[in-house]
């Protein structure tokens, strides 16, 4: 179920993204871990409704995870070339050849609801006024 995306919070500078050094980012206040607002923002993007208690709970848990991962940042990597992938391969491709698809009844059996041979989803909001 999608819900409208609320007005964006103040611009965030520290969301992990490609092009960064791969370390877990510090929170926007400069301290390690995620703040409650960060979790609320992520929850909105993931269309999850979290209570205040849950926000506090997950902020703590996620911060602990990030802190653990942040230890990687302590490693001395000055002489290590950046690793872009865990598998030392490039250009794994397949030829442009059609393979059988799944039968539709099997596909739609995965759907929470189906109608007219399509996946039925609840009203989509927040796209168009």
């Amino acid at each position: 179920m999608s819900t409208p995306v609320p007005k964006d919070p103040p611009a965030r500078q520290d969301t992990a993204g490609p092009g960064r050094d791969g370390t877990a980012g510090p929170g926007r206040d400069g301290t390690a871990g995620l703040g409650r607002d960060d979790v609320a923002h992520l929850a909105r993007l993931a269309r999850l409704a979290l209570s205040d208690e849950e926000l506090d709970h997950f902020a703590g848990q996620l911060s602990a995870v990030l802190d653990a991962v942040a230890q990687v940042g302590k490693a001395d990597v000055a002489d290590v070339p950046p690793t872009t992938h865990a598998v030392p391969l490039t250009d794994v491709t397949r030829p442009d050849v059609v393979a059988p698809s799944l039968p539709r009844d099997v596909v739609l059996a995965q759907a929470p609801a189906a109608e007219d041979d399509r996946f039925r989803v609840p009203q989509i909001l927040g796209e168009e006024e």
Partner: protein, 503 residues
């Protein structure tokens, strides 16, 4: 002077916009590649297939499935980049663009973020004899989304819909996104430059054979960015991004509308809101869309299930060497071959008749004849019927045949137009129509001799005049015979026959 749309949006006259503001445009174009199978799985890409019959665990994002890149899609993307003069990255990766929307079954779109396959190209487009260089920021490869069908609202619109139905046949079809840098300095021609860019891009994609580029089937979709700045301002204005612009004409209309709308906002002392807007084909207007999630909200990260793409230099060089002749080079060559001026060639280009004329010449017509028919009689018919030239039910081969019949003297221009009527009505090829309708110019048949003699017998006064030295009076008799034969006689032949008998 301002006007208002039916929705109450205030608009400034287009000409007046340019007296105060300078537009900057930009285009993001999505092209569905014409591969047989999807980007990361072997599902077919057939357009119009029964809903949800072309899906599998990979494109549905089912747990445990692993994507593998389609080699043909990567090659096609590199060829597009090369045709646009791009730098081809020696190292490129896919990324996950995370967002939740029902048309994205995986919860993310596999796309490219900071390491696109192609960067820094350009495309020159011509409007009214002026060349504009459009800088290409990047060309990257991603996958298309599923298709939503909104139920319960008016005319399939999302607004008021009770629920939506999703068909994932399209999800995972390779999609190339071509992004321009902002294009300043186009002034009043901004709408036409936008259209000319998309037209030229479409022609390049067709020449490359990488996509069918059927805009009506959504093979080519444009997002059009428009901003205005006061003339003389050092900064560009805030831009809007108009989505859902799916025809060449709409690209032009969308830019024109946004310029007029934004000028009214700025004139009133307001600020243009940086937002996504929807284009409405029926009214030619735009309306606000969803507030766009910021780039960081997509939480891009490198796709762990796909290894990097590292096109090696010799392969890229070979692809570059094997590019077909591109539209601009072809136009220059044809212009030379046809012996046309730049303006004459521009008329053919603007009429969308380059291929038609070229194919007609290839089928045996002279360039002059091919051009005359397509830009003359056929353009008139297309205009009357409200269709594009290429949609007329006549082939270049048939047009060539028609010009051949005229050149051989089988028909004259007037009879040829009647023969064309028959071809357009589905009566067959020109020669067949001429035969079936009896349109051939009359030879010196008994019927023609009779008509000539009847004309002489019926106008003794004219005959006397001619014999008295007023040879020009013979014209009246020629007219008589042409009328009697309903235009099927050959006028010079008739004149000669009359002279033989009267003088």
């Amino acid at each position: 002077m301002t006007a208002s749309t039916h929705t109450g949006e205030r608009l400034v006259d287009f000409g007046e916009v340019l007296t105060r503001y300078e537009p900057v445009i930009g285009l993001e174009t999505h092209v569905e590649l014409g591969t047989a199978s999807k980007m990361f799985c072997g599902c077919a890409t057939t357009f119009g297939a029964e809903p949800n019959t072309q899906t599998c665990p990979v494109c549905l994002g089912l747990p445990g499935s692993l994507p593998v890149s389609n080699a043909a899609a990567i090659e096609a993307t590199i060829r597009i980049g090369l045709a646009l003069g791009c730098r081809i990255a020696p190292w490129s990766r896919f990324a996950r663009k995370n967002y939740f929307y029902p048309d994205i079954p995986k919860g993310y779109q596999t796309s490219q973020y900071d390491e696109p396959l192609c960067t820094a190209g350009h495309l020159d487009v011509e409007v009214d004899g002026e060349t504009y260089r459009v800088e290409i920021e990047r060309v990257h490869l991603e996958e298309d989304t599923g298709k939503n069908l909104h139920v319960g609202g008016a005319t399939g619109r999302i607004h008021g819909a009770s629920h939506s139905l999703v068909d994932y046949n399209r999800a995972g079809i390779p999609l190339v996104e071509i992004v321009t840098r902002p294009i300043p300095g186009t002034g009043a021609r901004a709408p036409e430059v936008a259209r000319a860019y998309v037209t030229e891009l479409r022609d390049i994609l067709l020449a490359l054979g990488v996509s069918e580029v059927r805009m009506e089937q959504g093979n080519l979709r444009c997002d059009v960015n428009t901003s205005l700045a006061p003339i003389g301002s050092l900064e560009w204005g805030l831009r809007t991004e108009t989505k859902n612009v799916n025809s060449l004409r709409s690209v032009e209309r969308a830019v024109r509308y946004e310029m007029r709308r934004q000028a009214a906002v700025l004139d009133a002392g307001g600020r243009v809101v940086q937002e996504t807007r929807h284009f409405h084909e029926d009214t030619g207007t735009t309306s606000p869309g969803r507030s766009k999630e910021e780039a960081t909200d997509y939480r891009y990260f490198p796709e762990p299930d796909l290894v990097p793409v590292a096109p090696d230099a010799p392969w890229v060089e070979r692809l570059a060497a094997e590019l077909p002749e591109l539209p601009a080079a072809r136009r220059a060559r044809l212009r030379e071959e046809w012996g046309l001026s730049a303006t004459e060639m521009a008329w053919i280009v603007n009429a969308g008749a380059v291929d038609l004329v070229a194919d007609t010449v290839a089928a045996g017509a002279t360039p002059a004849d091919a051009r005359k028919w397509w830009l003359g009689e056929l353009a008139r018919r297309a205009n009357d019927a409200g269709v594009e030239l290429a949609q007329l039910p006549v082939t270049p081969r048939q047009v060539a045949e028609l010009t051949g019949l005229v050149a051989a003297g089988t028909v004259n221009d007037q009879l040829a137009r009647q023969a064309l009527d028959g071809v357009l009505a589905g009566e067959g090829d020109p020669a067949q129509v001429v035969e079936a309708r009896g349109l051939a110019v009359m030879g010196e048949s008994d019927e023609l001799v009779a008509a000539v003699e009847a004309a002489i017998a019926g106008a003794p006064d004219v005959v006397a005049k001619v014999r008295g030295g007023k040879v020009a009076a013979l014209g009246a008799l020629v007219g008589q015979v042409m009328k009697a034969t309903r235009g099927k006689a050959d006028a010079p032949t008739v004149r000669r026959m009359l002279e033989e008998r009267v003088l």
